[in-house]
């Protein structure tokens, strides 16, 4: 996935097409200049996209340097690689460091002094490749947009992949095709940039009244990063990333008894291909967003809309004051907007806000995933205007109706309706609106029961774990026919309490 100059997904295909066009045009010869000349001509004619054009210009430079040569030494080839990046730089209107240009330039400039008459071609390419890999790893440190997106430059990656094929053609068969996450190859992790151990524990303090949490935090800050330390009566909960977990435990043990301890080797996690979440600290926005949701899909949806932290909560697992305090601690934003997903959680969030003593925390009155979703939907990206954002988000919540559908646990009569056990019941708050053995039937009845439906425009369905994608698509088709004036959309919510949660606006 390329992020510079704009994020898109076509760098790989553009570079592939470019080199394929080159190879199609190239003709083998005893003279290297004939081969590189025909290769570069094909690439120039068939160059695609920014990275493809730069790639072709690199080979144009190589071809120019090798003109008239039949065979070349490693020294001459090194000079050609140098000429390659020089031509590429001159072809770009505004050359930018941290891209394929830097990878190509440093790849040869940093090793050229080590190339002499005894260096073999294979050795030259191995050194070139190794240096390019190192520079590629550094590209996020050179180009801010790469750092924010937590990716290396994709054009540079393409160049590295190409020369990996040159050095070892067998490596081309091991190419991952999984998408952006496959960028995080173990080989690209810089061993000097280790993450350490994710260390968490709960300590039962011997002398809670005499305990100084600030002193503990100061100690922990000196040992590592991503430090959270919370005291709740006689208990202290600690989380940090550190190279010296045992030293931290030994220090803590002087103050009490461990209730539980967890230590995880984050370097090993990275080596297994897990995404290193804390590799690059995201720049903190002026306004941070903390939400609460119950299903994995709901959590993902809110993160996709820009929530920095989504706590697990909901009807059966109410988020605690402590968890909110921990989330506030993690976010260094000037303002924090909190989106609870029921009235109890709103209360906990308000209490946490008061206990934190921190200014600039706002708790919205969102009591469902639907309200939270519409609130975040109305927020404007990276806006720093807290008043405008709050106003927009409140507009999002305003007038949203939430309906929830689940199976009845037993036979019951309420609100003039009879529900049989296992019927799908539809409720709005405490009010029963529908009951039917068939989910679609229950949804249709519940919608018809809503006053003022003709004023509404959109219905968003959060699909729970019990409803398949096909079932949801069929349901939407049925609903679209029954209510042609409404727009329906489905999001996978993953909640396990309700089959469906509907947000109507």
């Amino acid at each position: 996935m390329n992020v510079f100059p704009v994020p898109d997904g076509d760098t790989g295909s553009n570079m592939r097409v470019t080199i394929e066009n080159g190879v199609r045009n190239a003709h083998s010869s005893d003279h290297i200049d004939e081969y590189t000349s025909s290769l570069s001509k094909g690439m120039l004619l068939g160059a695609r996209g920014n990275s493809g054009v730069i790639f072709s210009q690199i080979f144009k430079g190589i071809a120019l340097a090798l003109k008239g040569k039949k065979v070349v030494t490693a020294l001459e080839l090194a000079q050609a690689l140098k000429r390659g990046y020089e031509v590429a730089y001159s072809a770009v209107l505004y050359p930018t460091e941290g891209t394929i240009l830097t990878v190509a330039r440093e790849g040869i400039d940093k090793i050229i002094d080590s190339v002499d008459q005894d260096t073999s071609i294979e050795e030259l390419f191995r050194k070139y490749l190794e240096q390019m890999r190192s520079t590629l790893n550094r590209t996020p440190e050179i180009l801010e947009v790469l750092k924010r997106a937590e990716v290396v430059d994709s054009g540079g990656m393409g160049l590295v992949r190409f020369f990996e094929g040159v050095v070892d053609p067998r490596s081309a068969q091991e190419l991952h095709l999984e998408g952006a996450h496959s960028l995080w190859f173990p080989g690209f992790v810089d061993v000097q940039d280790a993450y350490g151990f994710c260390t968490e524990f709960i300590l039962n303090l011997d002398a809670p009244l005499a305990f100084d949490i600030k002193k503990l935090k100061d100690y922990l800050d000196a040992c590592g990063h991503s430090v959270i330390a919370l005291q709740d009566g006689s208990l202290v909960k600690v989380h940090l990333h550190t190279e010296t977990p045992l030293a931290v435990l030994a220090y803590a043990q002087r103050m009490g008894t461990f209730v539980n301890v967890k230590i995880e080797n984050m370097d090993a996690m990275t080596a297994r291909g897990a995404k290193p979440e804390h590799r690059h600290q995201k720049p903190q926005r002026k306004i941070g967003y903390i939400a609460v949701a119950q299903g994995d899909g709901e959590i993902q949806a809110l993160e996709d809309l820009g929530c920095d932290i989504v706590l697990n909560g909901g009807q059966t697992m109410n988020t605690s004051v402590e968890e909110f305090l921990g989330a506030f601690e993690q976010l260094k934003s000037e303002f924090i907007v909190v989106l609870p997903d029921n009235a109890n959680i709103e209360l906990a969030a308000q209490q946490a806000r008061e206990l934190s003593g921190r200014e600039g925390i706002y708790v919205l009155r969102t009591h469902s995933i639907a309200e939270g979703y519409f609130a975040m939907s109305m927020a404007v990206g990276d806006s720093n205007d807290i008043d405008a954002q709050l106003s927009a988000m409140k507009q999002g919540i305003d007038g949203v109706i939430t309906l929830r559908f689940a199976r009845a646990m037993k036979d019951t009569d309420a609100f003039g309706l009879h529900c049989a056990k296992d019927d799908y019941i539809g409720v709005e708050g405490e009010k029963l609106l529908s009951s039917s053995p068939d989910l679609a039937g229950s949804v249709v009845c519940a919608l018809h029961a809503l006053p003022g439906l003709e004023e509404r425009e959109s219905v968003l369905l959060f699909r729970g774990q019990m409803v398949t994608e096909d079932e949801a698509d069929d349901l939407v088709e049925q609903l679209s026919e029954e209510f042609p004036e409404l727009e329906f959309g489905v999001i996978y919510g993953g909640q396990d309490v309700y089959d469906l949660v509907l947000g109507i606006t």
Partner: protein, 308 residues
């Protein structure tokens, strides 16, 4: 023969009818189909129709597009230069494509070979039919007898007055493709919420606010146009759409009723832009007040219109 050629590429989204009417030339780009085959990217629905294309994109079929490269631009410009014609080449925003760079390098190469010829490149900082609209203004200036330098200068001095106002149904597509700023928060598919965007000073689409529901969105669009358009009755207004023809026709009608422009033309978004915008674009393109550097004025207008 015209005094100079006006050259655009497939990101201008100008149909043959419009190009013929205003005598604008274009250079084809490249399109890679989901099965990996490559074909030319054009301003015709020749391989597939618009609906089929956007349904495929919505389903997740992978197309990719690239502009003409330096060599191709050089050949195209040389074609005109060798016939004794000057070329005014109009490019999509340099903020979202490398085309301006390719065009500029190509012009340098052709000037070196034909030093008596004038080849001028303009970075519109715009895309799609908004860039196409700028080419139409260039054509009108040419028809008024303006020289190539005068036409280019007018475009450079006035490009910041070319506005976009409309919505995208599904920002997740365009965010994946990266053609919108403040993108970090917009991966979600927005049901019922219409993000409304204009172009910023650097040529990137920027969401100014969001309307809840279509009715509120149309009102906000018309209100924003009213506050930013200049001399509407003398203008051609484009309404561009990617698989949203019904909504575009509704907006076009409302614009005709409210502003009485000389013409409202509904345009399609062809694959070169379409691959990056995706289905769901519905926007009006027109000329108005200069866009403020941080979009603060425009944000304030939208905030007021949306009741913030």
């Amino acid at each position: 023969m015209q005094p100079y050629v006006i050259l655009v590429d497939t990101t201008s989204d100008l149909t043959k009818e419009i190009r013929d009417r205003f005598e604008i030339e274009y250079i084809r780009g490249h399109l890679i189909l989901p099965d990996g085959r490559e074909c030319p990217s054009t301003l015709e629905w020749d391989i597939f129709d618009q609906k089929t294309f956007y349904r495929a994109l919505h389903k997740g079929d992978s197309y990719s597009t690239s502009p003409a490269n330096i060599t191709e631009f050089t050949a195209e410009m040389e074609k005109y230069a060798s016939q004794g014609q000057d070329v005014l080449a109009i490019s999509i925003s340099s903020g979202i494509s490398g085309t301006y760079g390719f065009m500029t390098k190509a012009a340098e190469a052709v000037r070196a070979k034909y030093p008596e010829r004038k080849l001028i490149c303009v970075d519109t900082l715009r895309y799609s039919a908004l860039m196409g609209l700028m080419a139409i203004y260039a054509s009108q200036l040419r028809a008024q007898g303006k020289t190539i330098e005068e036409a280019a200068q007018w475009l450079e001095q006035n490009k910041n007055r070319f506005h976009q106002m409309g919505w995208l149904d599904d920002l997740s597509f365009v965010v994946r493709q990266g053609r919108v700023t403040n993108s970090q928060a917009f991966f979600g598919k927005l049901i019922g919420i219409k993000p409304l965007g204009d172009i910023d000073y650097n040529g990137m689409t920027t969401v100014l606010g969001k309307a809840k529901g279509e009715k509120a969105a149309y009102e906000a669009i018309l209100g924003y146009i009213a506050r930013t358009i200049e001399d509407p009755e003398s203008q051609i207004v484009f309404v561009a759409q990617s698989d949203r023809r019904a909504q575009a026709e509704k907006l076009a009608e409302k614009i005709r009723e409210r502003f009485h422009p000389s013409e409202v033309i509904i345009t399609d978004v062809f694959p070169s832009c379409g691959v990056n915008i995706g289905p769901g674009l519905m926007a009006a393109y027109y000329v108005g007040k200069p866009i403020s550097r941080d979009l603060n004025e425009e944000r304030a207008i939208m905030k007021e219109l949306l009741g913030g």
